[in-house]
Assembly symmetry: C2
């Protein structure tokens, strides 16, 4: 059995170009006892992958140059030498940017296609949904009547953050790029207000949308949007820092002035809590509640989701660039086969 | 009865010059029912006062131009028209930079000169000690074996932070300016290590003093020292942000590069908790435990303190400039009469 793989050819400087990726085709080894042969149905593309392409120290090992790009996948079992998995099973695995893989049958989780579309295991019912759930509830701790702001609000994390905030009785304000996304946030996802960060009057619109200030800012973009929301934070506001996608392609520290002293000054005078997190931290403590709550909310319609499905593994690099630039609408997945 | 007062003449731009202050002498009004006449014995000088001299929004109202400079004081009651206070009583009050004052007898706390030197009510047993205690224990939460770093470590907050950290079983590393302070930190205050931030090899010395990284950084200075310690923070480290004295005289944002994106990147990848606080927040919840613990620790010698006593109210402006520049050694108080 052959697998087609996308590998990291060069570490990117700035935006990952086509030259950063190379496509290879390899013969897979025969199955050993306990292993299964998987065919990738869906590959998840997520902003964190940009970090894995760099050599810089982070919370996880970088992808080695020449290595297959990592990523979560929904796969079908084609062959099995394990009692745990049968041919035809659908599983959540972490086999990366490739069409097929041989993997240990223990390193995957079964999916029930009757319970929910299996691709949701990569989005609202998977890591992005869990990130929103754990980060918002454990760090953000929105209280009824408080104002929660989230950017990249049409992404899988942001849209879940806003909807969970509303379930908890808070007011949800979403920030996104472009009128279609902004309209969808209020009309489809039930946000109380939505703002286009590309608008020339973004600052005034943010102020108007947060008349009582901001109590929770779920930070997943950074950059000028982060600055504008920071200026609206109330005393004792909480800032779960989940991502900073606005700077992921940055090649050097931006020019001055240096805004760090003013930022820390605001942390001090407003008694802010700024807390970075990687969702793994909360897996042991929050997985059961997440699966119960989120499955229920999706089933009863109180949490909606959108998927942005791109066909063909060969289109993953271009789709990934679009993700970093905010061109996706909803959870970006590659339909591989 | 006359009082000599130091008032805010002009809001400072940068370091407060003599022209920012003016000295006036006024006749005090006759006592109304419930009031006392106070003679100031000690005036506390603290970094927060620099913020009160500016018009910028902060956690407290600025001193109005022409108003008496604010500050905590230890006073003696000279006359009383209240059942609460007798002539000769020593009290902790908030009468500011002046020699005498008329005040409501309810707005002060009795001091027992037999229990501890009364000036300690402005330092180790007062607001600075409480700031250290509440911020370190409630936000920093040092665990046995962890490493706690504090700068301005010979100041009243920093020295208490390091000593309380050791009481809790953590390793205490202090940063201060100059060899005398550094020596006192280890020899007199029991810090495990101390470093001179003026040293040309400060970065390497900090690394050597924190071989297992830093778990709690009690931030009270900011600036380059803050940067160096931030680079040593471990995953899940906690940063109580209590003060940023390095920037209090800044007149504009420093030149670039802009370090905020890199700072937030570190918050994210290291799952840091950065939490600003003003000690008032913890007064309702932590005062009783503080008074019990700290009084006991001072009495049994496990927490030591130093005072830097300057004679004469007229010397307060120059002493205050020295405080902002780190020239004091220990808690700075003005002996007024």
């Amino acid at each position: 059995m052959l697998t087609t793989q996308i590998r990291l050819a060069h570490r990117p400087v700035g935006e990952p170009t086509d030259a950063c990726f190379e496509t290879t085709t390899e013969e897979l080894p025969a199955l050993a006892e306990g292993q299964v042969l998987l065919a990738t149905r869906y590959l998840s593309l997520d902003p964190y992958m940009r970090g894995r392409m760099s050599a810089a120290k982070s919370y996880a090992e970088p992808v080695p140059v020449g290595g297959v790009m990592v990523g979560a996948t929904v796969c079908e079992v084609l062959e099995s030498r394990s009692d745990r998995r049968a041919v035809g099973d659908l599983v959540l695995a972490y086999t990366g940017w490739q069409t097929h893989a041989v993997a240990d049958a223990r390193h995957m989780r079964s999916l029930d296609p009757d319970a929910a579309p299996v691709s949701t295991a990569l989005g609202v019912l998977g890591m992005p949904g869990f990130t929103a759930y754990a980060g918002l509830l454990e760090i953000g701790r929105p209280q009824p009547g408080e104002t929660v702001v989230v950017a990249a609000a049409m992404g899988p994390v942001g849209s879940a953050v806003g909807q969970i905030a509303r379930i908890k009785g808070a007011r949800a304000v979403g920030i996104a790029g472009g009128p279609d996304k902004v309209r969808a946030l209020t009309e489809e996802f039930g946000f109380d207000a939505a703002i286009d960060h590309r608008s020339a009057t973004f600052g005034e619109e943010l102020k108007a949308a947060t008349p009582e200030g901001v109590d929770v800012y779920f930070e997943n973009v950074g950059g000028p949007v982060g600055d504008a929301v920071t200026a609206r934070l109330n005393t004792y506001a909480r800032v779960p820092v989940c991502g900073l996608v606005a700077g992921y392609n940055a090649t050097s520290a931006p020019e001055g002035p240096d805004r760090l002293p003013a930022y820390l000054g605001r942390v001090l005078t407003q008694s802010l809590t700024v807390r970075g997190f990687i969702q793994d931290e909360f897996v042991p403590t929050h997985t059961e509640a997440f699966q119960r709550d989120m499955t229920g909310w999706v089933a009863d319609g109180s949490v909606r989701y959108r998927e942005d499905v791109v066909d063909g593994l060969e289109n993953a690099p271009e789709a990934f660039r679009g993700l970093l630039a905010g061109r996706n609408v909803g959870k970006l997945v590659i339909r591989v086969s």
